[in-house]
Symmetry: C2
Subunit: 360 residues, 2 copies
């Protein structure tokens, strides 16, 4: 079987036509000694995909094939690869390369590398002019550090969304001490938030789901939440004043957000960590808002390889799985995914499947 | 010698007349079993005093005698007092009471007590109608937890400003890990900032002073800074990208502040802690500003009794002292202090002295 020099995938041409996907061939980056070629079997649909192609995050490199919650089979490994075996089932997430040499890369902070950051799609490989293309496609070619063996207990279509949404929730939980004796809140019950509840609980924290209405209460409890807060209800924050050690804010919009009320629920030096990147203007923050409990506000970006492997093992050990609706990859399925993400009509993640039907 | 039931001090009547101080008698709170009466010998002049009486922080309880960097002699101790001896030289800072019973009070976070917070001036003692009055006066009456024995090596007039400004700088330094191997920045070289440099260096951190112009460079190096950054200079942040573990923001104004440039200097998960409370509207913060290095933004409020005692001992051990200009307490001296603080014309703290001349 010949190795691919090209991949075939579904590209979008502009923000104005972002629900129109076109099946095309495009060039892969030159194969390196540490690279792994992956034949894709499934790919989760991330809010980032929508933000990117719809223009919400600003200018992008079109035409572009998005998708960065990839599961597939390693069909070729470079001569220096030691972390992945040919034939192994593997995943790729939202980032596909960093410098590998700097303080951050050597300190489990490779997703914060200030030197070189190649996202799985939309980033230009240095000295090639080739723009990385994502997982709504037949193949990706990825450096082994960014390729993650998938424990056999995990089902392909259900684990796919963990490769971005899952890790995005997991990393700030473990970096900020979620565990027994801690009270943790998860704001925003979408793709990331539903993993947040699942993982916070699995890590042993007292876990609260925080959402606008009560519409997602039953789901939250099924996901493992110990309690539920509906912020549309008067006085919602009062019973929780000064009590949360950590809140992960997964909301994809900051509109109508009364941040001061959320922060009043934080224990002294508690942490409010945002993982969503709303398209709107930010929040006005005064030192006065932070000083009554010395709360810390931060943000978190993906997670390290080490955390990815830990998360996958935790999911395997505890039988955790994404709540997934499967859609057939193709022009129609991708259009439906984008239209429904736009409306927030997904509980809680789409996985594009049936790759063999369109890519053989 | 009879114990005082009243104190005599300098009060202001309104924000419109905040540089006019009037010498008057006012009632002390009822003497409690844990209270200490202190005959005041010196009091530092804090930016808070100016913010409070000039109306910058909103409505206050006038007439009001401010001042909360108090040094004096304990002339009477309640029957249950164990932490202070009669005749001892002691200090009182910006806070004078908290509930003492809650999780925060029992966990060295009494300055974040959500139950009861009595500031040294301007707070009403429950069930008495008596508003606490500060240290531009002959005496204060304070619960022993908030009365701090002063090590004998420290000079009264030079240690006074440590009781608020010093602790405000010291607490976030130790709570956020300032020490050997850490790179720490101090923004804003006023009363708090000059202590910030001194203490960061004394704690063993690589210490950088950060100010607008180079005007305070020589002073900063004398105070112990290892380096100096002038933010009026093009490209000032570039040599420091992703390198600071901690920056304490002591600036008293946020006008013209390009927060994103400051944050770009932070190492991954570095901390930007504000201790000033500017009168202006706050900063607009987007998750996007925080995500490239996962920086945490916070604020800090004073410090615990335990930290106060540690700080005073550190100052005694290392021979640290505030850079102080002394002014004679009285209508004239206080007016001069307020006018010059308004203009930022102080390096780096005033201490009101000569109490015996006006209060006998």
């Amino acid at each position: 079987m010949p190795y691919p020099e090209e991949a075939e995938g579904y590209q979008v041409d502009s923000p104005e036509t972002y629900t129109e996907f076109h099946k095309r061939f495009f060039k892969l980056k030159p194969f390196g000694d540490y690279d792994v070629d992956i034949k894709i079997e499934a790919c989760g649909v991330c809010g980032s995909d929508h933000h990117t192609i719809s223009g919400g995050w600003g200018e992008q490199k079109f035409p572009l094939c998005v998708g960065h919650e990839i599961i597939g089979k390693a069909i070729r490994v470079g001569p220096k690869v030691t972390l992945v075996k040919e034939g192994q089932r593997v995943g790729v997430g939202a980032q596909s390369y960093s410098c590998g040499e700097c303080k951050q890369c050597k300190n489990d902070n490779e997703t914060y590398c200030p030197v070189l950051m190649i996202d799985t799609y939309g980033a230009e490989w240095p000295e090639t002019g080739i723009v990385s293309q994502g997982g709504y496609s037949s193949h990706v070619r990825t450096h082994e550090h960014w390729v993650f063996p998938i424990p056999e207990q995990l089902e392909t279509n259900l684990v796919a969304p963990m490769l971005c949404a899952g890790l995005t929730a997991y990393s700030p939980l473990v970096r900020n001490g979620a565990g027994p004796g801690k009270k943790v809140g998860i704001v925003g019950l979408g793709g990331i938030g539903h993993f947040g509840i699942m993982f916070a609980k699995a890590l042993g924290a007292e876990t609260w789901a925080i959402s606008r209405s009560r519409a997602k209460e039953a789901d939250s409890l099924k996901l493992g939440a110990d309690g539920y807060i509906a912020t549309a209800e008067e006085g919602w924050e009062k019973p929780h004043l000064c009590s949360f050690d950590l809140i992960i804010n997964c909301a994809s919009s900051s509109q109508g957000f009364d941040l001061a009320k959320y922060l009043s629920m934080m224990d002294v030096h508690g942490r409010w960590i945002s993982v969503g990147l709303p398209e709107e203007e930010g929040q006005v923050i005064k030192a006065q808002n932070l000083i009554s409990n010395g709360v810390l506000i931060g943000a978190s970006h993906l997670g390290s390889r080490r955390e990815m492997l830990q998360m996958l093992q935790l999911a395997a050990d505890k039988g955790l799985k994404g709540w997934v609706e499967e859609l057939q990859i193709g022009e129609e399925g991708l259009k439906e995914a984008m239209n429904r993400i736009q409306k927030g009509d997904v509980r809680y993640r789409f996985t594009m499947t049936g790759y063999d039907k369109v890519f053989g």
